[in-house]
Amino acid sequence: MALTAEQLKRKSAQDAESAFEAVFQEHWRRVYALLYNLVGEGDEAEDLALETFWRLYRLPPRLAQEESLGGWLYRVATNLGLNALRARKRRQRYEEQAGYISTLELQGSLPGDPAEEVEQVIERGRVRQTLAQMKPRSAQLLVLRHSGFNYAEIAAALGVAPASVGALLARAEREFEARFKRLV
């Protein structure tokens, strides 16, 4: 992202509008895909992506002068996605205990061995539950890293020093493993 928050702020309203369009064109697919992976449902992912861009539209980031809009966008998107997971946590756990598997979940999987499919759906449920239980920033780190962000991009998105990303990831992975294994 070449545009910084400061630049966007300084531009006239019209320029801000076209800057917003450019940001939307550049980032929509990636934001949507990230949220789709996270929440696993197309409609919900789209709502969350719309909310993310709406927030950007309404509230250009005002904090650090050199913060990239891309970073802001993915921080807000992961935040919203994880919030959605936390909100559904209870319902989903109940459904899982009742052996209920959403048809939406099954639509996303390959036609094949039904037992394997069920296995995968359960695994996905556990991964989401684990992310929802984790410290928000740690969960964000993992989601961004596994969406293909490099250390510099993660650092920009989460407002941490690039040199600390390795240590934070190591800690987040330990936390993920411990919590995931408790669910199994």
């Binding site: 719309l50 909310e51 709406w54 921080r75 807000v76 936390r86 991964v127 928000p136 390795g166 992975e173």
Partner: protein
């Protein structure tokens, strides 16, 4: 010195700085323990990676074209505009709180910036205030969504009831102001500029604490890691604020207008408004708060400090060293402000200096004989203290 997990992780991810690469490689070659550690780490990275990969859909999600998505965003924006209208109405209904709290209005004028104001509004330590403490806050550590949290607004509109006993009245006559206020009004000597006195009525605030809603606010702003004691739920906290007298000297209309606009749209304002040549003195008897005795006040204070960006350890330490029942803790932005304790009006006061586009303005607060004073205006410490010392 062995390599840290962070260094090893970065190395495994190919993210080691070029200048560091030779050192890391050299160390790994000679250190079996670090090699072993790297192997463990790499195993975990792969395992976690596999788990997260399970989230990836096996077929590409049916994604609408970017153009269609843009259309839907327009529709979404329209829906949200309606929502924003509602918010404005809500914000207006919470405005009397601002005005009545005098002190906060002054903060809004002089120092506060939107996210902090949202918190100050919510948590204001309005116990019987005997002293004022300022903590400096790095705005970068504040939750991003604080200024625009819909849940926070719901909290104020649904759970906080405000009863006012009358209307704000304006006069130019100090004797009249004292009569309206019900206590002697102290004013500075020889302050230039036309004087306008505003007397706000007594206000009674009731806050019925709805813990799930507070937790929803914390979730929404991404701080679900902050936990509040369960016994808080259902507790009733009441705040009694006596009449507040604000003395305005000079051309204050412009500054007030700016503050009003900002209050309507706190999320959109970028910085604190300039006071221009307006000097204000707010005085009020210390507000009284009553809360259930079982309320764990230091713990709530600690949550408040964590919300402001302190780490849990810092917050615990700070919280233990403060008497929350008698201290008003005001967050101010770290950048562009400085604060110190000064002798004023025969007591200790807190002096905050702010630089705004090259101009200096200040906020000076102190408590004397149960009265809370806040003086704000252009200039520096000397003029602030001399005005405060001239109160009669």
């Amino acid at each position: 010195m062995h390599l840290t997990d962070g260094e090893l992780h970065a190395y495994l991810d190919g993210e080691t700085a070029v200048s560091d690469l030779a050192r890391l490689r050299g160390h790994l070659e000679g250190c079996a323990r670090c090699r072993q550690r790297a192997q463990e780490l790499s195993g975990r990275v792969a395992w976690v990676s596999q788990r997260l990969e399970s989230l990836e859909p096996h077929k590409t999600p049916a994604m609408s074209a970017v153009g269609a998505a843009r259309q839907r965003l327009r529709a979404y924006q329209k829906e949200k505009e309606k929502d924003t209208m509602l918010r404005k109405i809500f914000t207006r209904s919470t405005r009397p709180v601002w005005i009545t709290l005098g002190l906060v209005a002054i903060l809004a004028l002089a120092l506060a910036f939107p996210p902090v104001r949202a918190i100050a509004n919510s948590f204001l330590g309005l116990f019987r205030v005997q002293q004022v403490t300022v903590i400096q806050v790095n705005p970068g550590n504040l939750p991003e969504q604080l200024g625009s949290s819909a849940q926070l607004e719901a909290l104020f509109t649904k759970d906080v009831k405000v009863e006012e006993t009358g209307k704000e009245q304006t006069t130019a006559d100090p004797a009249e102001a004292a009569r309206l206020a019900g206590y002697p009004v102290r004013l500075p000597d020889n302050l230039p500029g036309q004087l306008s006195l505003r007397v706000s009525p007594e206000t009674h605030l009731t806050f019925a604490i709805d813990l799930p809603r507070i937790q929803a606010v914390l979730n929404e702003i991404g701080r679900s890691d902050i936990h509040l004691p369960a016994e808080l739920n259902g507790a009733n906290v009441t705040v009694d604020i006596h009449t507040v007298v604000a003395a305005l000297y000079g051309n204050c209309e412009a500054a007030l207008q700016e503050a009003r606009n900002e209050n309507k749209n706190p999320a959109e304002s970028q910085s604190a408004p300039s006071l221009g040549d307006c000097t204000t003195l707010v005085q009020m008897p210390s507000p009284e708060i009553s809360a259930p005795p079982e309320l764990d006040v230091p713990r709530i204070g600690q949550a408040y400090l964590e919300l402001l960006g302190m780490t849990p350890d810092e917050a615990t330490q700070f919280s233990q060293n403060i008497d929350w029942t008698s201290t008003l803790v005001i967050p101010i932005p770290r950048d562009g402000t400085s604060q110190q304790t000064v002798s004023v009006d025969g007591v200790q006061g807190t002096f905050i200096q702010q630089r705004l586009d090259g101009n200096r303005q200040y906020l000076l607060m102190w408590v004397k004989d149960g009265q809370l004073y806040a003086l704000a205006g252009p200039g520096g410490q000397q003029s602030a203290v001399s005005i405060a010392n001239s109160l009669k």
